[in-house]
C-alpha cells in the first residue's frame, strides 16, 4: 500500500484519529537451538535484534512471540523475562517469531504531540515572517505530509516517497473529517474520533457501502489516492 498511516492531531497537539494501513508486515517464525546466534537487546519496552541478521530476521525486528505465545513487551506471555528465558538452555529448542515492531497507541499519542511541537518550531525557525509549519518530512523509506487547517487541526499522512497526489488526499481527508466527525451532533470538538463497531463492519464491506463512516471513508480515501 502506498499510504502507510493517517494521523489527525487537534489544536492542543493531542491525537484524535489514527489509521494504519501497512502492507503485510514482514514476520518470520523460526526454531532455534541453544545457543542463540542472534544478539538480542532490550530497547524501550521491547526486545530487539541487535545483530545476527539471517534469513528473514533483520536487525531492528522485535520478538513478537515465543512458542506461539505472544510476548508482552519484555516479558513472555506467562510473565517471565524474555532475555532470561532465552539464556537458559533448558528452554530450548524454542520457536521465536520476529517482526517489525508495532507502535503502541501510547507511543502514537506521544509521537503525535511531539510532531505538533516540532511543527510549531518549524514555523518559528523560519527566516521569513508568517511561515507555515512543517509540510513535508522526508526519509529514505517514507515521506510524511502534513496539512494544517486554518482552525489548527493537522492532518498527517505517511506515504511511500514516490507516491504523488498526497496534497489532494489531505484535502479530501479534511472534507471527510468535516462531514463525518463534525456533522455528527454527538461528537465533541477536539475529542478522539471513535467509530469502532462500524469501522469493523465497513472495512469488510468496502467503500461502496452506505453510509460510510469516518474510519471506512478514510480507509477508502487512503487506499485510492489516485482516484482523489
Amino acid at each position: 500500500m502506498a499510504i502507510f498511516s493517517v494521523y489527525v492531531v487537534n489544536k492542543a497537539g493531542g491525537l484524535i484519529y489514527q489509521l494504519d494501513h501497512y502492507a503485510p508486515r514482514a514476520e518470520s517464525e523460526k526454531t532455534f537451538g541453544f545457543p542463540l546466534e542472534l544478539v538480542l537487546r532490550p530497547h524501550d519496552e521491547r526486545v530487539l535484534v541487535a545483530f545476527g541478521q539471517r534469513d528473514g530476521v533483520r536487525v531492528g525486528h522485535a520478538v513478537l512471540a515465543i512458542n506461539g505465545l505472544e510476548v508482552n513487551g519484555r516479558f513472555t506471555g506467562d510473565g517471565r523475562d524474555v532475555l532470561e528465558y532465552l539464556s537458559s538452555p533448558a528452554n530450548f529448542p524454542v520457536s521465536i517469531r520476529f517482526g517489525r515492531p508495532r507502535l503502541s497507541s501510547n507511543e502514537k499519542l506521544m509521537l503525535a504531540s511531539m510532531f505538533h511541537s516540532l511543527f510549531a518550531i518549524g514555523s518559528q525557525l523560519s527566516p521569513e515572517q508568517g511561515s507555515s509549519g512543517i509540510e513535508v518530512l522526508e526519509t529514505d523509506t517514507f515521506k510524511l505530509h502534513c496539512f494544517q487547517t486554518l482552525t489548527g487541526i493537522k492532518f498527517v499522512v505517511l506515504a511511500d516517497p514516490r507516491q504523488a497526489g498526497i496534497d489532494a488526499l489531505l484535502r479530501k481527508i479534511y472534507e471527510i473529517y468535516s462531514d463525518f466527525a463534525l456533522k455528527n451532533p454527538f461528537y465533541s470538538l477536539e475529542m478522539p474520533i471513535r467509530y469502532p463497531l462500524l469501522l469493523g463492519q465497513e472495512q469488510q464491506q468496502g467503500p461502496a457501502s452506505p453510509p460510510p463512516v469516518t474510519g471506512a471513508a478514510l480507509e477508502a480515501a487512503a487506499s485510492s489516492p489516485l482516484n482523489v
Partner: protein
C-alpha cells in the same frame, strides 16, 4: 436554498421551503418554551455558535479560501463566499470603522414566510442563529468578534443589517513560561 448533505462528493440541494420552515418551527418552539425574549435570543445565539464552530471546517474544506490578511478580506469572504454557499444570498459589505463591518441583506431568506413578529415578542431576534454562527466560525479561526443585528426587517427597518465588530485577535501561539 442549498446545503451540502453527507453524500459522497455531491452537493445535494434540499428544498428551500423545508429549511426555512424548519428554522421557523425551531424559533416558534423556542418561543413556546421560554417566556422572555432574551432567553430565546440567547438560546438561538448558542445554537448558532455550536453550528458555526463546526460549519467553518466544512466551509474551509470545500471552498479553497486562503488565509485572510485583514478584517476587510474576512468580511468580504463571509459575505461573498460563505453566505452565497450556505444561504444563497450575497449581502453587501460596508466598513464603518477599521474593525467594524456591516453586512446588508436586501432579502433575508430565513424570514420568507414571516409576516411580522407576534405581539409581545417585539425584541425577538428571529435570525439570531445567523449571528451566533458567524461568531462561532470566526472564533475557530482565532478572530474574536461580536456579531449583532443592527437593523432587522421584521422590526420595521427596510433592510436587514448584521454588524460584525472584530475584537482583539486571539493569539494562538502558546507562550511557554520559563520553567
Amino acid at each position: 436554498m442549498s446545503r451540502s448533505a453527507n453524500r459522497r462528493q455531491e452537493n445535494h440541494k434540499i428544498s428551500r421551503e423545508l429549511f426555512v420552515l424548519t428554522y421557523g418551527a425551531l424559533v416558534a418552539q423556542l418561543c413556546k418554551d421560554y417566556q422572555q425574549d432574551e432567553d430565546v435570543n440567547k438560546c438561538l445565539d448558542d445554537m448558532g455558535y455550536n453550528i458555526g464552530i463546526r460549519l467553518v471546517e466544512d466551509f474551509l474544506a470545500r471552498s479553497a479560501v486562503k488565509k485572510c490578511r485583514n478584517y476587510s478580506e474576512t468580511a468580504d469572504i463571509i459575505a461573498q463566499v460563505a453566505f452565497k454557499r450556505y444561504l444563497g444570498v450575497t449581502p453587501s459589505v460596508t466598513c464603518t470603522k477599521w474593525n467594524e463591518f456591516s453586512l446588508i441583506l436586501d432579502k433575508n431568506p430565513l424570514v420568507d414566510f414571516v409576516e411580522e413578529l407576534p405581539a409581545g415578542r417585539s425584541s425577538l431576534c428571529f435570525c439570531g442563529l445567523l449571528c451566533g454562527a458567524i461568531r462561532g466560525a470566526l472564533e475557530m479561526v482565532n478572530l474574536a468578534a461580536e456579531v449583532t443585528f443592527i437593523h432587522d426587517s421584521l422590526k420595521g427597518d427596510e433592510v436587514t443589517e448584521i454588524g460584525i465588530t472584530f475584537l482583539k485577535k486571539v493569539e494562538d501561539k502558546k507562550k511557554k513560561k520559563n520553567k
